[in-house]
Symmetry: C2
Subunit: 342 residues, 2 copies
DNA sequence: GATTGCCGCGTAAGCGCTTACTATCGGGCA
DNA sequence: TGCCCGATAGTAAGCGCTTACGCGGCAATC
């Protein structure tokens, strides 16, 4: 069933049916009614592919994220979706699981669908891909990676600042042995945080002992990284996590090991996802405005002002430090061995 | 840039370019190389709309879920996505936030895109919509709602059984005052659980006192429902939640109120999302095989056996009871007023 | 009563692809 | 030598829709 059948049934031309369905042009009320009736009776659903092909336009924007299991990404997605819905756009979502190969496929797919904008909330971006995108002419907005170009905007969070706040805070509480838990350390935005950690820690005197552990993004990854730190013999008084999601795993592992938080070890997260305030103990973390990020990403893709568009920009959000229950004064020097049940 | 430009540059016809790009038909190696080179140089990306229009086929399936914030849905999505990827399919996701209006729009959109199958993991389905879908001819699979038809499959979990297990277990532990926390009580699959709760509770003797509280699906909803129960004056020794996600909120609210779990109140969830084992105290819950659900949904949409397709079926999964830390013997009769800090 | 202008609608040309169907060219074979 | 067939590649007809263009008719204008 296509436009033509509807037209035949309503005894008009396909052009008229199209006009009615798209609410453009002048159509007599009675004709409109006939068309609508015919469409309804035939259970007609316009073929969006044909529509896109013919119309050329496309109120669709694509969003690619790294890990839909992490609530951080879900929040950004939902914010963008809400915005898209309000503005009459469609939001296409794809998930890469941090796999660069999937990412390439998804980008190709989005381009193939001729989205009118592409929001990339990912870390696994290599420069050749960025190049390929900046050669194209569809508006792109990155979160956390890349640099502005004629068709590329950037939104970033000042991670260095956030990490610095955390480290300084812990230092002030007397912590001198810190572990940093991360995932995918060689991906750009994540290495930024690691560097920030290293630098801050090194800059402080008296010097802080530190160690870095890496695992997968997620609850299980947080747990594993924690075990790794224990196993290495390093006994931190504070564990700084690259995000809340991993921190939740850390909390769990510590609890299972009989290590109290923050009594024995302080733990921090990053992002301030809703779970961070709901878990036990609640997480000291850094708030990242996901709502605003989703909003800004959508904006920068659809804002129609060609002047402002001409010079693409980079927006950097300042994070806000949030102190909760998972951090406290450093314990006196006691080895982990004594803390942990045999 | 389109097929024609590539063809011109490679000095062949569009048909040949198409053949090369789709790897069908016979093309001389040297020609193929020329075409590939031209496509690369022009940064050609095939227009998927045109491709779909012309080809008629469509390795795309759509999935609509109620609430992407709830990890339960994310897990199903990821399972289906993995499967789709392996089979060379595209998975289109849409989120309704339990809003029937959004649902209708998303369904129309999926049909408009001519997906080759539609997976609906939603509760807010009214019968007229089901009717509309069963009139159509695209394969549809529901989770938790609807009945099998020629083009409709169903996958469900025996919620009643799960709830019954929970109630019986709590009863055996001495609980005689139970609260049931739910969301969207008049949506089909959710009311099923509520009924199961009611029936089980009523069937048991000596009789159990019970109450039902309703709020939004989510952490905040769980908290609010808990407050509501408190405020009503009912003092349950156990709180049964319709899913883990809400239970996490309940746990948080109880902790804040200074009520210990399971010492003062036992709490149960449903679904066994990963967080249920990671939170503190870990949740007694009922395991629902999300992995398998995602898998089955995909299967039932793409399985090519026309014989098996002829008679659509309903698959019911039996849930498995998982006991963890959030449940314990009922406390002796002490009013909440005494438990809670003034 | 002829002219103007606008409303309402049909005609038809694409949008970028896929895919019959056809045409060409050698080579193998009788 | 003549013929047939397979390997290649081109031609062109759609897929279902939008939209520029144009035409008839009717009210308003002079």
């Amino acid at each position: 069933m296509n436009l033509e059948e509807v037209a035949r049934r309503a005894k008009v031309s396909t052009a008229t049916v199209s006009r009615v369905l798209n609410e453009v042009g002048q159509v007599k009320t009675s004709t409109r009614a006939r068309v609508l009736k015919a469409a309804q009776e035939l259970k007609y659903h316009p073929n969006l592919h044909a529509r896109n092909l013919a119309g050329g336009k496309n109120r669709t924007i694509g969003m690619i994220v790294s890990n839909m299991e992490n609530p951080f990404f879900v929040d950004i997605y939902k914010a963008a979706e809400r915005e898209a819905r309000a503005k009459g756009y469609e939001l296409l979502l794809a998930n890469t699981d941090y796999n660069p190969e999937y990412l390439v496929n998804h980008i190709r797919m989005m381009i193939g669908r001729r989205v009118s904008g592409l929001a990339l909330v990912i870390s696994e971006m290599d420069s050749s891909l960025i190049q390929e995108l900046s050669d194209g002419n569809i508006p792109v907005v990155f979160y956390d990676v890349g640099t502005p170009k004629h068709n590329i905007s950037n939104i970033a969070v000042n991670y260095a600042k956030g990490i610095e706040r955390i480290v300084n805070y812990l230092h002030a509480l007397g912590h001198r042995r810190m572990a940093f838990i991360s995932h995918h350390p060689n991906l750009g935005p994540l290495s930024v945080r690691e560097h920030a950690f290293r630098e801050t820690v090194v800059r402080i005197s008296p010097p802080i002992k530190w160690q870095i552990a890496v695992s997968a993004d997620g609850l299980e990854g947080g747990r594993e990284a924690t075990r790794e730190i224990f196993a290495s013999g390093f006994d931190p008084t504070a564990i700084i996590c690259v995000n809340d999601f991993m921190a939740l795993g850390v909390l769990h592992e510590l609890r299972q090991a009989g290590i109290s938080v923050p009594g024995d070890v302080s733990v921090t997260g990053f992002d301030n996802v809703q779970l961070a305030s709901v878990c036990s103990p609640s997480l000291t973390t850094v708030h990242v405005e996901r709502e605003r990020i989703g909003h800004l990403m959508f904006q920068s893709l659809t804002e129609a002002s060609p002047v402002a568009e001409a010079c693409r920009r980079k927006i950097v959000l300042d994070p806000e430090f949030v102190v909760r229950e998972s951090t406290g004064p450093a314990r006196k020097r006691i080895a982990f061995a004594e803390l942990r049940p045999a």
